[in-house]
Structure formats: C-alpha cells, structure tokens
Symmetry: C2
Subunit: 348 residues, 2 copies
C-alpha cells in the first residue's frame, strides 16, 4: 500500500519536473540542467512526508488519493528545499555519499579548470537558486491538486506553518553551531521539533486530516501525535547518527561526532564526569575511527545513550496514547501504529 | 497619487510583518529579530513593482486599490527575497551603505567575540533563511488579497513566471561571474531581462491587467511594453553604476568597475582597442579613484557609453510604440508614459 502511494507521489513529481524542464529549456541549458539536479534530489527518498499526508487521509476515509498525492508532493518539495538550503548552511557538498547540488556544480566547474574556491561558491550559488525554486513551487502543487476553497486555504495555512516553524528551528540550529556553550536538553528538543518534526510529522498529518474533512478534534489530536512521535524520531535519529549501522541508515556514524553536533546525548554527557574526555574528543574533523569508538564507549558508560533511548521511548509511548483517544477511528489507528512502532523497534 | 499607492502597499506589508513578528515571538527572540531585519529590508524602497501593478490596474479602470496593493506587495516581497539571496550569492554584506541581513548578523556575532569567518557564515545562513521566508510568503499575500478564482490562479501563474525567469537569470549571472570569457551583448541583455526585468516590469504589469480583467490583447501588449522598458532600465542602470551620481542613485560608481561586472558597455568595449588597457584596469578590488576615472574615460572614448545610451533609448522608444497601440486606453497610456520618460530623461 505504501508502495502504491509512493508511486502516486512519484508521478506527481515526475509531471511537475517534466513540465519545469520543458519550460526551462528556452532559458538556457544550464537552467534545464539545474532542474534535472533538483529532480534527482527528490528521487530515491522514502516519501516520508507524503506517507503521513496520505496515511492520515486514507485512515479518515479519504478516497481521492490523487489529490492527497499532490498535497503530499507539496510537503516533499518543501523538504527538498529545506535540505538543499540546509546543506548550504552546513557547507556540505555531499549527501548520502553522492554529490548534492552544490557538489555537482562544484565538480563540473573544477573539471572545466575553475579554481576550487570559486567552483565551490558557484556550487553554493546554484544550490541557493535550486532551493528557492523548490520552495516556491511547494504551494503550486497544492494549487494543482484540484482541491477547492475553503479546504485549499486551510491546507496552505498548514504548509505555511510548516515552513514558519522550520525556519525558526534552522535559525536556532545556526546559533547552536556558533555558540561555545552547551544548550540544554530541552532547547535541543525544541530546535529539532521546529526544524524537522513540525514539517515532517505534525503538519503533513494535519493536512491529510483537513483534506479528509475531519473534525477539528481529530486534526488537533493528529498534530499532538505528530509532535510526540516526531520528537521521538529525531532523538532516535541522533542516536543512530552515532551508533547506527551505516548500511541501514545511509549515513556515516562518525560525521556527527566529528562535527561535535549538539544532540540530546551530548547535552546529557556534558553534565557527567565523562565530559572531560568526551569534550576533548568530539568536534574535530580529524577524529579517528579508534577515537570515535572511544567516544561511543563514553556515551554508553555515562548513561547518555540510555537517557536518549528512554526519552525516545517515552515520547513514542505518549504518541501511542494519543492514537488511543476515542476520536481516532480504528482505521486511522492502524495506519499510524506502524509509524510509532518503527521508533519503538529502534530503541528496544 | 504614487505616494497614496505606496502608502497602501506599506500598510499591507506592515500588517504582514506585524503578524509574522507576533507569530515568531514564542519561537525565540532571534527569530523575531530576523523578521524585524527582513521587514527593514522591505522598507525605504521605491515600491517600484507595486507601482507597476497598481498603475496598470488603475489605468484599466480598476477601483479596488486594496486588492491591487496586496498583489503589489506580493511582488515587493518576491523582490526582497531575490535581493537578499542575491547578496548571499554576491557575498555582499552591505546594501546602499547599511549592513544587509548577513551584515547585521555578522556584526552582532563579531561584537559577541565570534571569529570573523564564523560570524560571516552565520550572517549568510541567517540571510538564506530570511530570503526563504520572504519567498514563501509572496504567494500568501495574493491569497490574502481577497481575489477569488479564477483571477487568483492567473495572478499566481504570473508570479510563478516572475520567479521562474529570475532564477534562470540569476544562474546565467553566476555563470558570467566565473566564466573567463566575455559574454555577447545579447547574452547580457537576456540575463538582465530574465534576472530583473521580468519580475520588475513584465509580470507586475500583467498582474495588474489581469486583476482589472483586461482583454488578453492588453495583457500581452503590457508584457511587451514591460519587456522593452525593462531592458532599457537595466542598460541605464548599468551606465549609472559607472557614471551616475552616487547621491542620486544611492550606489557607489566604483563597485561595478572593481567587480569587473559584465555589462553591455564592458562587452562592447571588449571588442575595441581600448580593451587592452581597460581589461587590465577593471576587476580588481583595489582599483583606485584615479584608475576608475581612467576606466570611465576609456568607456567614453571607445564609444561604449554612447552605444549603451543608444541601446537604452531605442528600447525605450520601442516601449513607447507599444503604448501607442489602439488596445491601450488613454488613461493607461498616461499611467505608463512617465515610466518610459524616466529612462529617456536619463539618456538625453
């Protein structure tokens, strides 16, 4: 069923990109190429946000899965925009092992003999433009969904809320990255909720419910479920970023340690005796594999890993409680249970 | 009359920012501050794009100037987004003599003891986020205009076209800035049209005409007028960027020479004997005032300045011809004549 839904979303995005590339052709070969890179950036994902939209919609009895696919694709395009610009902010030229938009442009400029620093800046510039295009077109996909007033306006409000929160979270994250102090666990959770959970869980679920013309109570409860499970996901994500299996997550498990990324585990560890050594180890780009192992051992020994696992488990449990509320129909519960179970599986 | 219209647009933007800052408050003091900086970036402008929307609308008999102000404000916000990100791409920290968003964030981080390179990156990151917010909200202002279907959809299509063209132009400009070769005059005109003229002239005029429910012929003719006068404006702008009076334009007249900016004048000069010296002079950040004077003399002597003036004049004349077409009512002609006259005044 998930595959069927993902297929519908893929079809929406394919039509959108095919049309955009056709429009871009008369404006220059590089522009068409940029659209192609942007399209590649939307491919191969798990269509996570569209699955939230479509799961909520179908679970509430919605039957126009094409319309739901458009709304889901809008969230997917917002996601693309946010990660493309996030990579610019993080100065990343690679994502999941392959060059991202900045990286692809940089590499092709270097191949043509351009100096690396200029080529990098060109890559970053192209990525800013590409992210802008994805961002601007997220709304357009809702317009193209065929959903009429007043549902359209309400869904657009929710997409607006998603972007509004994510920008706030990104700004807090930028502050963390330059602030020499250690943020509190709660501040990290707030940042992660705003930056990622709101647009990945809370708002796509609400958009699906609104599209299904659900009662306000259901929309609110789904938002609550999304908030709890979204925070749980982010905490688990940070744990996997250090302890995960690279093959399963597609991410290195050394990057976050080298970056000294502020996570719940690190904030917890910073208030334990392990920090005197751990604080020395992390945050260095040349952290060795052996040092990374030492850092992992310290995170386990000081209780940081168990703390994060417990925290994720408790948020996931609270999310399940929301699903048990009487306003949630059985079919919707069945749709969303697996989302919470995935988190619980990872911290069992 | 222009002042009255600008006032309406100011009121729309003020309401929008006041609401956004209120929404931002619970998400962090820095976020509210970022919204304040973004607001400051929209103030003090000439409300050029809204004036195009409102001039076309009023000239075609439109009477709901509040709705026109919302549509105008949408173009103004798009403009803000584009210049904020353009500054990131150009690595500018100052605009019109005062720190832009990147500059303001950099300076406050430096004041708190952050190293300059990290502070600059923080400034750039904040500017990327701020530009995203402006971009995402441009559509929202059209939604808030109260304009219903199917006019709303048509106006949104035009705003989409504005962004689509501008991104293409920005990408070509990035290519110019790293390409060691000299672009052709026609390629420079295409870049300038796409990057700026489409969203500043063609599409705001068309949006105003659509809002006034004008005939398709009028919408097309206004687009043609906008294209011609928009190109003329850009050519004049480049001339003033080297020969203008700084007090009148608010821009330095040495920046473009130091940057070695590819303009119609420079492309023309590159095919004349003056280039052997001129090509040595420009494109160096340490160009002196005396060297800038020498470069200006060379641009005059080789005929580049006269070529650009002639080109601007001829585009402005062609624009006037469009206004003379029978489908354009006298009142609209009266609205738009001054726009063309401004260009002609500058090259007389």
């Amino acid at each position: 069923m998930n595959a069927e839904r993902a297929h519908l979303v893929d079809a929406v995005l394919q039509r959108f990109f095919s049309l955009s590339k056709k429009r871009a052709t008369p404006l220059g070969a590089h522009y068409e190429h940029l659209w192609g890179l942007l399209e590649r950036n939307t491919q191969g994902g798990k269509r996570f946000r569209p699955r939230m939209v479509m799961g909520a919609y179908a679970g509430l009895g919605g039957t126009d899965m094409d319309a739901a696919a458009y709304v889901g694709a809008a969230f997917e395009l917002l996601h693309t925009a946010l990660i493309v610009h996030d990579d610019v902010i993080d100065r990343d030229f690679v994502r999941r092992g392959i060059p991202n938009i900045s990286g692809a442009y940089r590499d092709s400029a270097v191949d043509r003999g351009v100096a690396t620093d200029i080529a990098e800046h060109r890559g970053v510039s192209a990525a800013i433009i590409a992210g802008d295009l994805a961002l601007f077109n997220a709304y357009r996909l809702i317009d193209k969904s065929g959903v009429g007033s007043p549902l359209r306006e309400r869904i657009v409000e929710v997409l607006d809320e998603a972007m509004f929160a994510s920008a706030a979270g990104e700004l807090i994250d930028v502050d963390f990255s330059i602030d020499p102090g250690m943020p509190l666990v709660d501040d990290i959770l707030t940042m992660e909720r705003l930056k990622t959970a709101v647009y990945s869980f809370e708002t796509p679920l609400q958009a699906g419910a609104i599209l299904a013309e659900a009662d306000e109570e259901v929309v609110t409860t789904l938002g609550d479920f999304g908030r709890e499970i979204g925070i749980a996901y982010q905490v688990v994500d940070d744990v996997l970023g250090v302890f995960g299996e690279e093959e399963a997550t597609g991410k290195t498990t050394i990057g976050d340690l080298r970056e000294g990324k502020r996570t719940v585990m690190i904030a917890f560890a910073s208030s334990t005796p392990a920090w005197s050594r751990l604080g020395e180890l992390i945050g260095h780009a040349d952290l060795t594999l052996a040092q990374a192992d030492e850092a992992r051992d310290l995170l386990v020994q000081c209780g940081a890993r168990a703390f994060a696992d417990d925290l994720a488990r408790s948020y996931a449990q609270r999310a399940l409680t929301r699903l048990a509320e009487p306003c949630i129909p059985q079919r919707l519960r069945a749709e969303l249970h697996p989302v919470a179970e995935t988190v619980l599986d990872r911290v069992r």
